[in-house]
């Protein structure tokens, strides 16, 4: 079992320090209570202190490689990054385009990123948002985004 400083651990350690700093900074803005329930900043600041120490341990200590298929790098695999970008675009477009149009495009893009053949991808990409719409809106009466664009075009 290999044991060495991993870039992922170092990055996580730095993030922990940043989170600890934010907690301490934020706690300075909270009202200080002197009642019997104790000062509300104590628990968060203790947590921040432990986070700082854990961050230090992550950066300094050497540990065995984690189990599973992690490879110890912080290089981001292309397909997942593309999927995340597509998801950000969906989140931005959802209100404007609505579930059906944005959902069809999103599923189709993701399926192609994953390597699905067009023949299988297209029917599922079209059917899935429609089925989700029917189940949520028609059966369960849970409203989903219609799309501002369609509301404008078809008043």
């Amino acid at each position: 079992m290999k044991a060495h400083a991993r870039p992922g651990d170092i990055l996580a350690g730095v993030i922990l320090w940043a989170m600890a700093a934010v907690i301490v900074q934020q706690s300075t803005t909270w009202p200080v209570a002197g009642d019997v329930a104790g000062n509300p900043v104590v628990f968060p600041r203790i947590l921040a202190a432990i986070m700082a120490l854990a961050g230090l341990a992550l950066v300094v200590l050497r540990r065995p490689e984690p189990e599973g298929e992690t490879d110890g790098t912080i290089l981001l695999p292309g397909r997942t990054v593309q999927a995340i970008i597509a998801t950000v675009v969906l989140a931005l477009a959802l209100d404007w385009l609505g579930l059906i149009a944005a959902g069809i495009a999103y599923v189709l893009v993701l399926q192609r990123i994953a390597g699905a053949p067009w023949r299988a991808a297209v029917p599922f990409a079209v059917a899935t948002p429609v089925v989700i719409w029917l189940v949520f809106v028609a059966m369960l009466r849970v409203p989903l985004p219609v799309g501002q664009l369609w509301k404008t075009l078809i008043p």
């Binding site: 079992m1 290999k2 044991a3 060495h4 991993r6 992922g8 651990d9 990055l11 922990l16 989170m19 907690i23 934020q26 909270w30 209570a33 019997v36 329930a37 104790g38 509300p40 628990f43 947590l47 986070m51 854990a54 200590l61 050497r62 540990r63 065995p64 490689e65 984690p66 189990e67 298929e69 992690t70 912080i74 397909r79 997942t80 999927a83 995340i84 998801t87 950000v88 969906l90 989140a91 959802l94 209100d95 579930l99 959902g103 599923v107 993701l110 994953a114 390597g115 699905a116 991808a121 599922f124 990409a125 899935t128 948002p129 989700i132 949520f136 009466r141 849970v142 409203p143 985004p145």
Partner: protein, 502 residues
């Protein structure tokens, strides 16, 4: 206390037209999701919570319990057929299930796995039915100091979920505590760490967080692993095992069910641990241990019965104390709170009818998956071949729309996306996700009850010394923490002993 009449009413409710279709639908969905490698029961529960919003609470809860029980069972199907565990807990089933399939006994292996899971699940569901009311009655004595101690105990044991690195598990707990702090101060009532976002005034929506961490993160992880179709599974024939064969393994079942139940009750560990321990013990006590790993039916029976044997145990602390035992029960707890049901001893006082319906639902779910699993074995065997390149994008869309549907709020879509990316990055770098989720729940419970304890003690924590139950729980937490620190120390010594690479 356990009430047979209420249980009978519970069965009647589960058999009603309002609930029964959801029991069957949940069982089928659970088997399908569990059988597909990479998709877990926890993921399925998180993904399908939004579908229960507009249902009667008992319909939604029974559906999610059915997904939970059948999802745990069905992980074994892929283990047996294509040597890839459908769920992490099903890895022990693979050891003898796959060799059985290679010998042309895939149907027999699936049959034994189904019956064994049913036996384990029913055992633990009945244990839950009997013991949960007793524990809930005892827990009525609990007040803020005891709940604070329970949260500390839960967090200390949660770190054992870390796998190979306890420090990474600890870090996951710390991040969960920080996430749980966002929102309103539990005593002072002022907003903290909301950064001007009014949507954060009540904290992150817990269901959106869970969908992100368990569904979207897993889908992102799958995106980087998919290359081609899974191997073609062998033919499934003669699924129904002989009664004599099942009865002949009664010792295996008794031992494995006990392992499952006890390990299930322990916070932080569940089906994965119990199945491996039961398998190892069955092999150790066998007259001919050399048969194991080469297709011994007892190996499949031990692993599967212990897996489902842990489900009732996992639910016990969640239902009675409001302390989830593992990630799946944390997600189930989130589902209960969505329906305005707060798990804990008061639930047993205020809604004994519903609690007994939950017991009846859990028992029925274990019967349902046995019947469906045996009847549809050939069909479900084909599920393992589903093209994940087509399926996983659908999971992504369902995750995001499910998050939106919680409050019809686009902000929750961003929360799910953020936690999806966080969960994926954590998994890639060996940080376990489950401790984070448990810490979000237990952190809030710990802080609020600590400060209520301070109020009870008029500003002094010395009141803890007058609370023997709290002291015992804290002592257990200290013992558990000592064991964790000992493991960290041993791990560090091992790491130092290895010369640096290069």
């Amino acid at each position: 206390m356990f009430d047979p009449q209420l249980l009978a009413s519970g069965f009647a409710a589960v058999a009603s037209a309002k609930v029964f279709p959801f029991l069957i639908a949940g069982s089928v969905m659970g088997i399908i999701v569990g059988a597909i490698p990479g998709l877990t029961a926890t993921m399925a529960i998180a993904l399908l919570i939004p579908f229960t919003f507009s249902m009667e609470p008992i319909s939604g809860i029974v559906m999610l319990l059915a997904i939970y029980a059948s999802g745990i069972y069905a992980g074994g199907i892929a283990s047996i057929l294509i040597r890839t565990p459908g769920t992490p807990a099903a890895a022990a089933t693979l050891l003898d299930g796959y060799p059985m399939a290679q010998k042309g006994e895939a149907g027999r292996a699936i049959g034994i796995a189904t019956i064994s899971s049913g036996i384990g699940g029913l055992f633990s569901a009945f244990a839950l039915t009997l013991f949960a009311p007793l524990l809930a009655t005892f827990a009525l004595r609990f007040s803020a100091p005891e709940y604070f101690a329970l949260a500390v105990f839960g967090l200390s044991v949660t770190m054992s979920l870390a796998g190979s690195s306890l420090l990474r598990g600890f870090v996951s707990v710390l991040v969960g505590l920080a996430v749980g702090m966002i929102g309103i101060d539990p005593i002072g009532g002022f907003q903290r760490m909301t950064f001007g976002y009014s949507e954060l005034s009540g904290g992150f929506n817990f269901v959106a967080v869970m969908i992100g961490l368990f569904s979207l993160a897993e889908a992102f992880r799958q995106m980087e692993q998919m290359s081609s179709l899974p191997p073609v599974p062998p033919a499934v024939r003669n699924v129904l095992p002989r009664a004599r064969e099942i009865i002949g393994m009664w010792r295996v079942y008794l031992r494995s069910c006990m392992y499952g139940l006890i390990i299930g009750i322990s916070p932080g560990v569940g089906a994965e641990t119990s199945s491996f321990l039961a398998y190892a013990e069955t092999k150790r006590t066998s007259k001919d241990p050399s048969r194991f790993g080469k297709g011994a039916p007892e190996g499949v029976a031990a692993a599967q019965s212990a897996e489902n044997g842990s489900t009732g145990g996992d639910l016990l602390p969640m239902l009675t104390l409001g302390v989830p035992g593992d990630a799946a029960t944390a997600v189930l707890m989130g589902a209960l709170t969505i329906h305005n049901l707060q798990p804990g001893p008061m639930l047993f006082q205020e809604r004994p009818d519903l609690v007994h319906q939950i017991f009846a639902g859990m028992i029925s779910a274990n019967i349902a998956f046995v019947i469906l699993g045996l009847a549809g074995a050939r069909l479900f065997a084909k599920v393992v071949q589903i093209d994940r390149r087509v399926l996983v994008p659908l999971v992504c869309l369902l995750s995001l729309i499910g998050a939106y549907a919680i409050d019809n709020n686009p902000f929750d879509v961003w929360v799910t996306l953020a936690f999806g990316v966080l969960g994926w990055l954590m998994q890639r770098n060996g940080f376990p996700v489950s401790p984070l989720v448990l810490a979000v729940i237990l952190g809030g419970m710990m802080e609020s009850n600590l400060r209520r304890t301070m109020v009870m003690g008029l500003g002094s924590p010395a009141i803890m010394l007058d609370r023997p139950i709290a002291l015992v729980i804290l002592a257990l937490a200290a013992l558990s923490l000592a064991a964790v620190l000992r493991r960290i120390w041993q791990e560090r010594r091992r790491a130092v002993a290895v010369p640096p690479a290069g």
